[in-house]
């Protein structure tokens, strides 16, 4: 009984310490933006790695998500004789929900896991210690460029996702199932308002912060993560943990932001 209580207490203390560490980590990464010299070239390089190189994944996810929405939406709306609302249904689903959420999840899988593994390996091979020993701030040098690049990339990728998804809906609904193209575009024009776009943008910024924070943080603290093990196994477990935690956080915050802003 005592050992059970001890374990719960120990887990609770670990959780509190972990949250504290991650809070300080976030603050240090943000402070890194103001530290000089600013690593502009590295930020651009990271935008290419995290943003531009994720475009193909975003393209295929968006086009097929849009096509499935077009297909499902068409057969559902046809029951009520409202096929003309297909454009509206596809666009609102994408702009308000699916665009930001799926973009964040795809970037987590493609770039977030890579960031976590890269930083975790650097930690395990003493590369981060080496930076600190050379009096080089590892946040300014390593973490902050990834933060900035992710926060710039995900909102832009989300807008691409929305546009490509709407085009996918057009392909399935208009070209394959024969919905009137004018009705499709008119539906979008009539139903999408600034608030919808703002909601999507706010979500994409928050999701970007969550993804980069969790993924880089898990990698940075790989050596003190509980049950993560050491060496390659530790990095592998930290990466899994980062992807799972980021994905769940995106979905939880999706609900919270929607509830607050609607």
């Amino acid at each position: 009984m005592i050992s059970f209580v001890t374990r719960i207490g120990d887990s609770f203390l670990y959780l509190v310490r972990d949250q504290g560490r991650m809070g300080i980590f976030l603050m240090s990464a943000v402070m890194g933006i103001f530290a000089r010299p600013f690593r502009f070239r590295e930020v651009v390089r990271q935008i290419r790695i995290i943003g531009a190189n994720s475009f193909a994944v975003i393209f295929f996810t968006a086009i097929f998500t849009g096509m499935v929405l077009g297909l499902q939406g068409y057969y559902t709306l046809r029951k009520f004789g409202s096929e003309g609302l297909l454009g509206s249904a596809v666009a609102l689903s994408l702009i308000r929900e699916l665009g930001p959420v799926l973009t964040a999840l795809m970037v987590t899988g493609r770039a977030g896991s890579a960031m976590c593994a890269e930083i975790g390996i650097m930690r395990n091979t003493e590369q981060i210690d080496a930076l600190e020993c050379m009096a080089v701030n590892p946040f300014r040098y390593l973490i902050t460029p990834k933060f900035l690049a992710t926060i710039i990339s995900i909102p832009i990728l989300t807008q691409f996702f929305n546009v490509i998804g709407i085009a996918g809906g057009y392909v399935a609904g208009v070209l394959l199932l024969g919905v009137n193209p004018g009705a499709y575009y008119n539906g979008i024009e009539q139903s999408v308002v600034n608030e919808d776009i703002n909601l999507g943008i706010v979500k994409s910024f928050v999701f970007a912060l969550l993804v980069v924070w969790i993924c880089t943080g898990r990698g940075y603290f790989v050596h003190i993560l509980r049950n993560a093990g050491f060496g390659a196994e530790g990095v592998s477990r930290a990466t899994t943990q980062a992807v799972v935690l980021s994905s769940i956080s995106v979905l939880v915050w999706d609900y919270l932001i929607t509830a607050i802003m609607l």
Binding site: T125, E126, Q127, C133, M134, A135, V136
Partner: protein
């Protein structure tokens, strides 16, 4: 004897239930070479990390040039760290960077030199380490000995006052090990740094030492010189000498029974 450049005062460091350093008090004299010896898991690398402020002690003071680094802000600690050069066990080269980028990193980050001056200084340093022609290679394309030489070149770029070596010859063949030791002598003569070496390479590494410190069960035993080791009557030192400097088997009979 020179005044201490680094001093431990009653330093305690625990990891969970394990008390790695148990009230250690030791001083490292300026301009001298100290070898820290001891078995695996006795806290040798922890001692180096404490000196660098990478980890904090649970209690006690660590003085560098008379100033306690355990009570410093990060900005002050970074100024102290500029005095240090470190050669890590695995060299700790940034693996996404070339040899040139690794060695030039301290200059780019810590000085205001123009890019041509950085190129000149790095090329000069690489030539000293017999690494010219390897500037564009990545760490994964280098042998163990070359990685150590690049690590040493990077550590010396800012002409540190104190050099810390964490297992500088682990994993290297005897010939490369001797090359590294020769480089060590050459560079110390050139730069005049104080050095602290953590090593398993006993007794060879004692050739470099002015002072030897033995870590045993969380305590440090200091000798004035490596020559004192075989003369000591302290049972801990006698055991250490027998285990590390003696024959593989304690008798011919034991050897024949294997």
């Amino acid at each position: 004897m020179s005044p201490p450049i680094i001093e431990f005062r009653n330093v305690v460091k625990c990891f969970g239930q394990q008390r790695v350093l148990d009230g250690v008090s030791v001083s490292f004299a300026a301009g001298m070479t100290t070898v820290i010896a001891g078995g695996s898991g006795q806290g040798k690398s922890v001692t180096l990390k404490l000196i660098l402020g990478l980890i904090s002690p649970d209690s006690g003071e660590i003085l560098v040039n008379g100033r306690d680094i355990t009570k410093m802000k990060l900005s002050e600690l970074n100024r102290i760290r500029e005095k240090f050069g470190v050669l890590f066990q695995g060299a700790a080269l940034l693996d996404s960077m070339t040899v040139f980028e690794n060695v030039s990193l301290p200059l780019r980050e810590r000085t205001n030199y123009r890019s041509q001056e950085i190129v000149d200084r790095v090329k000069k340093m690489l030539a000293q380490f017999d690494l010219d022609g390897h500037e564009e290679k990545y760490p994964a394309q280098l042998s163990g000995g070359m990685k150590k030489r690049v690590g040493l070149a990077r550590a010396l770029m800012l002409q540190p006052e104190i050099m810390l070596f964490d297992e500088p010859t682990t994993g290297l063949d005897p010939q490369i090990t001797m090359d590294i030791y020769r480089l060590f002598f050459q560079m110390q003569k050139q730069f005049g740094y104080t050095s602290i070496i953590v090593s398993h390479d006993i007794p060879k590494v004692f050739n470099l030492a002015d002072q030897v410190v033995l870590l045993n069960k969380g305590k440090m035993i200091t000798f004035l010189s490596p020559e004192d080791i075989p003369l000591s009557m302290d049972p801990r030192i006698v055991t250490f000498a027998a285990e590390t400097m003696g024959n593989i088997y304690s008798s011919r009979k034991m050897e024949q029974n294997i």
